[in-house]
Symmetry: C2
Subunit: 143 residues, 2 copies
DNA sequence: ATGTATGCAAAACATTTGCACCTGG
DNA sequence: CCAGGTGCAAATGTTTTGCATACAT
């Protein structure tokens, strides 16, 4: 099992039952090396194009979906019209998104996590996941 | 200003700068009287069709968007592929959604709200809104 | 060899928009 | 009357899928 911030390897792909193909390896590299941690399928596709790779957009979608199923990446819907993906670093966290420059900050708060479980429990729900995203203006965008 | 759970009226439409037209009134009625509180545009459209109303889907989308801008309804993206709308009852709340039967429970937790502001503040963000949704199995769906 | 993966083009969806016609105040 | 609203059809943008070909093991 993968732990922490180690780079993903061919091994991780095989462990997920996925053949080690060029598109998959390249897409993993993009997710690891891009300057933003949260990328849309289109983002990944463009980066690959600019790097001279010949990988179709459909493949990017298929691979990202497989990676998500394998637990290698997480999918988020900060904006309603498209999803973004980030490498799963093993540590759960939530997000604060700047509504101006789209900067994303990650945070984790034990108290909120606990409270969520208590609340879910109170209503008889067995929680499998949650999505918490704060939207606002970051320091830079407030002048 | 509207307060609490009173039914929305023509007055509310006028106050929002919207003419009181049949589609708008009927759509408000659907939101008020439907058995589920959270409806997609398609849901609203079908209910209108079944009621014999001749209102286009495009109009439903336009009206719901105007209602949202006017603060009469709130839009949520529980699932990535479509939005749902609910009447704004004046009280902020978050949601727990059953991943099996899609039941939605609303809750409000002061501690989580405060904690979110503290965290945002710590990172220099001025929060304008947030989205917190818990996903899991409700009591009924766990047999 | 052979079951998977991929690229491309087309399809599928939710949502938006252009435009000629209708309607509320 | 006339600005604003509506229906319809067409356009949009994202994501998915069918299928013939290419590739990893």
């Amino acid at each position: 099992m993968r732990i922490g911030i180690n780079a993903l390897t061919d091994r991780d792909l095989r462990d997920a039952g996925l053949k080690v193909t060029t598109p998959r390896v390249k897409i993993l590299e993009v997710l690891e090396k891009a300057n933003q941690r949260h990328l849309s399928a289109e983002n990944v596709y463009r980066i690959l194009l600019e790097a001279g790779e010949d990988i179709g957009l459909a493949t990017v979608y298929r691979v990202l979906t497989q990676f998500e199923a394998a637990g290698l990446v997480n999918r988020h819907n900060f904006e309603s019209n498209h999803a973004v993906f980030e490498l799963d670093d093993g540590k759960h966290h939530d997000h604060i998104v700047c509504i101006e420059c789209n900067k994303v900050v990650e945070f984790f708060d034990e108290m909120i996590e606990e409270r969520q479980l208590e609340i879910a429990n109170r209503y008889g729900f067995a929680i499998s996941e949650h999505a918490l995203t704060l939207f606002g203006l970051c320091q830079d965008c407030r002048q």
